[in-house]
């Protein structure tokens, strides 16, 4: 599976998490990509700690004041996230 890495800060990750939950609760049908994105949000910080030990330094280079966390997304998940209502700041991450 080809993955796209989306670097987000901790607060951005929380924003995405909340947006996904809002989407989930406002739609009756289960969306497999949303479910996978929620799992991804849940493991992303552990991945950063375990596999990217210098991610805080990377965060500085990326201009992320509260850490930079790599979200690993498939093309379908990325597309799904782009179509979920997000705040302007979060939309800019995806652009």
């Amino acid at each position: 599976m080809e993955l796209k890495t989306l670097w987000v800060s901790q607060s951005e990750l929380e924003g995405i998490w909340e947006a996904l939950h809002e989407y989930r609760f406002s739609h009756e049908l289960k969306n497999v990509h949303v479910e996978n994105l929620l799992i991804e949000c849940g493991v992303a910080e552990s991945r950063a700690e375990a596999l990217y030990p210098s991610y805080e330094r990377l965060a500085v280079s990326l201009g992320k004041p509260d850490g930079a966390i790599p979200l690993k997304l498939s093309a379908e998940e990325y597309s799904c996230l782009a179509n979920i209502p997000l705040g302007q700041e979060l939309k800019e991450i995806l652009s």
Binding site: V43, S46, R47, K72
Partner: protein
């Protein structure tokens, strides 16, 4: 009843290319783990786990009980003791009882051990841990059901 989870021999099997290091690390009793507390999303309060005599060199395990802290980090759980990652203490921790009592993992619990001395052992569902390692080389970790690590003490 206490169950050992990851024995030194298991450690050596997990790191076959690096047996000496595995023994050295295990005998030190601690793997340093330096993630600040503030980065964890939530805590499960300290839990006393009965630690029986472990067959590890150089480990002071005379105390009957050692406090471990299970921390939830996203949807993955990590085991630490007094700010240090206590990999080798897992040899004798009753992690099965602990997880049943305190972790909201409904699927079978899996363990992932990374080929890195600084990385924590992580507990979670198979689906969760596979997702965590989705971009990792399969040779860089070992993923197995917790039950495979558990051997009842005689």
């Amino acid at each position: 009843m206490t169950f050992p989870v990851v024995s030194l021999s298991t450690m050596k099997q997990l790191f076959p290319e690096n047996k000496n290091d595995a023994e050295s690390i295990a005998s030190s009793g601690l793997w340093f783990y330096s993630v600040p507390d503030s980065q964890f999303l939530s805590y499960i309060p300290d839990v006393n786990i009965c630690v029986n005599d472990a067959e590890l060199p150089g480990m002071a395990l005379a105390a009957d009980e050692v406090s471990f802290r299970i921390r939830r980090y996203g949807s993955v759980y990590e085991v630490t003791r007094e700010g240090f990652f206590a990999s080798s203490f897992l040899t004798a921790a009753n992690i099965k009882e602990l997880t049943e009592d305190y972790l909201d993992v409904t699927d079978d619990l899996f363990v992932v051990v990374l080929n890195s001395i600084t990385a924590p052992i992580m507990l979670g569902s198979e689906k969760t841990l596979k997702r965590l390692l989705v971009a990792s080389d399969e040779d860089s970790y070992r993923l197995a059901p917790l039950s495979l690590f558990i051997q009842e003490r005689k």
